[in-house]
C-alpha cells in the first residue's frame, strides 16, 4: 500500500536527521485541525458550573481558579502541539513518544482539579498509561528488530511478516491504553466530570486524532490489501 493511497497526495518531507516528517493531504489536514483547535483552546475561557444542593435551596458554583486555569491551559497547549506533531511524524518511535507525551499531559490537565472522584479516575488512567508504555515502546522496538527500520517511509516497502503483525497489535494496545478507547473508556469518561470544558475537549480531540493516525500507521505497516 502506497503512502499516497492512504493519505491522498504526497506533498513532501521535512527531514530532521533520521526522523523524516512527511506531509500528505490527509496528514496535513489533521495537523492543521489540531493546531487550529489548540489556538482556539488557548484563547477560550472556562465555563462555571452551578450545582443544586440536595435537601436545601442553596446552589454551589464550581469555578476554575486562576492558578488552576494557568496550568491547565499550558498543558492543553502542549497536548495540542503533541497531537499535531503525532499527525505528521514519519517515524514510528517518534510517534510513540508523541503519544506518550499526550498521555502524561492528559493526566496533568485533570490533576489540577479538586474533585476527588475525578482525581481517583485520573489516577486509574495514569496506571493504565504507565502500563501502556510497555506495549507502546515494545511494539516499536520489536518492529525495529524484525525489519531493521522504524521509518514509515521505509516500512511501506517491507513485506509483512507474522512478527510485524504481532508487534503492531502490541503497538495498538499501547495506543489504546494511552488514549483510553473502547473497553478502557471508563477512566477517561469519569475524568470529564469537572469544570473547564476547553481543556477537557483537547483530551478528547487528542485521543480521537491519535486513533485515526494509528490506524493509518497500522495500515502502512501491515498492508492488508497487498503492497
Amino acid at each position: 500500500m502506497d503512502l499516497s493511497t492512504l493519505g491522498g497526495q504526497f506533498l513532501g518531507t521535512i527531514p530532521l536527521g533520521d526522523i523524516v516528517l512527511y506531509l500528505t493531504t490527509f496528514n496535513l489536514f489533521m495537523f492543521g485541525a489540531a493546531l487550529v483547535f489548540t489556538a482556539i483552546i488557548a484563547m477560550s475561557r472556562t465555563e462555571s458550573q452551578v450545582e443544586a444542593e440536595f435537601g436545601t435551596l442553596n446552589e454551589r458554583e464550581k469555578k476554575v481558579s486562576k492558578d488552576e486555569f494557568k496550568i491547565r491551559r499550558f498543558l492543553s497547549i502542549v497536548c495540542g502541539l503533541a497531537t499535531a506533531g503525532a499527525m505528521i511524524t514519519g517515524d514510528l518511535f517518534n510517534f510513540t513518544l508523541f503519544v506518550c507525551l499526550i498521555g502524561i499531559v492528559n493526566i496533568g490537565i485533570v490533576a489540577a482539579v479538586k474533585e476527588v472522584d475525578v482525581l481517583d479516575s485520573a489516577f486509574q488512567y495514569g496506571i493504565i498509561a504507565m502500563i501502556a508504555t510497555l506495549p507502546l515502546f515494545g511494539g516499536a522496538a520489536s518492529i525495529l528488530a524484525t525489519t531493521g527500520t522504524i521509518s514509515l517511509l521505509e516500512l511501506v516497502n517491507i513485506p509483512t511478516s507474522a512478527f510485524m503483525l504481532f508487534s503492531s497489535i502490541l503497538l495498538f494496545i499501547g495506543v489504546a491504553g494511552e488514549s483510553g478507547v473502547a473497553p478502557f473508556f471508563a477512566t477517561k469518561a469519569e475524568m470529564f466530570r469537572t469544570a473547564g470544558s476547553p481543556f477537557l475537549v483537547i483530551i478528547h480531540l487528542s485521543s480521537l486524532l491519535v486513533i485515526v493516525r494509528i490506524i493509518e500507521i497500522l495500515l502502512i505497516i501491515n498492508k492488508p490489501f497487498g503492497i
Partner: protein, 159 residues
Amino acid sequence: MKLGRIWNSLATPKNIPKLFSIILGLVLLTGFIVPLTYNDHQLYPRPTPQLQISEKDPLAPYNRGGIPLEEPGIVKAQYPQFALSEGMVTGYLSPIAIGVSNTTLYFGTSIYSSPGGLIDEILYYSRGFDTILESSILMMAFVIASWVALHFTMRRKEE
C-alpha cells in the same frame, strides 16, 4: 455471569487497569508462539557487548570506534543524505573522560560517560528530535508533579 453485568463492571474506573493488564498479558503470552524474525542488518549496529568486554575495552559496550573529525565511527543512519557528518564526533572523549577511562575498565557502563564522555550520535544527531521529545516528556512530568506538590500538599491550609 450475565453479559450486562460484565458491561457494567467495565464502567467502574477501578476495574479498568486490571482489565487492561489481563488483555496485555494474554497478548504477550501469544507472542511466544509467533515465529521470531530478526533482521541483523540493523539500522543502529554495534558489536556484541560481550565482545568488547572480553577485549578489556574500557569503553565497552559503547565503543563505536572512529577518530573525532577525521574518521567516522560505526554509526549507520537511515538517511545518510540528511546526516552528512555522521560518526565524526562519536569517538570524542573529554580530558576527564580520557583520564577516567585509563584508570578503570568500566568507564563505558558508568553514568558519567555521556556528558563530556562518549557522545551518542544516534541520540544527539541523527535522532535528535526523539531526544528533545523524551526530555519534554520528563519536563511535563516534573511540571505536573511540582504543581500538585505546591498546591495540594504545601498550600492546603489556605483553603
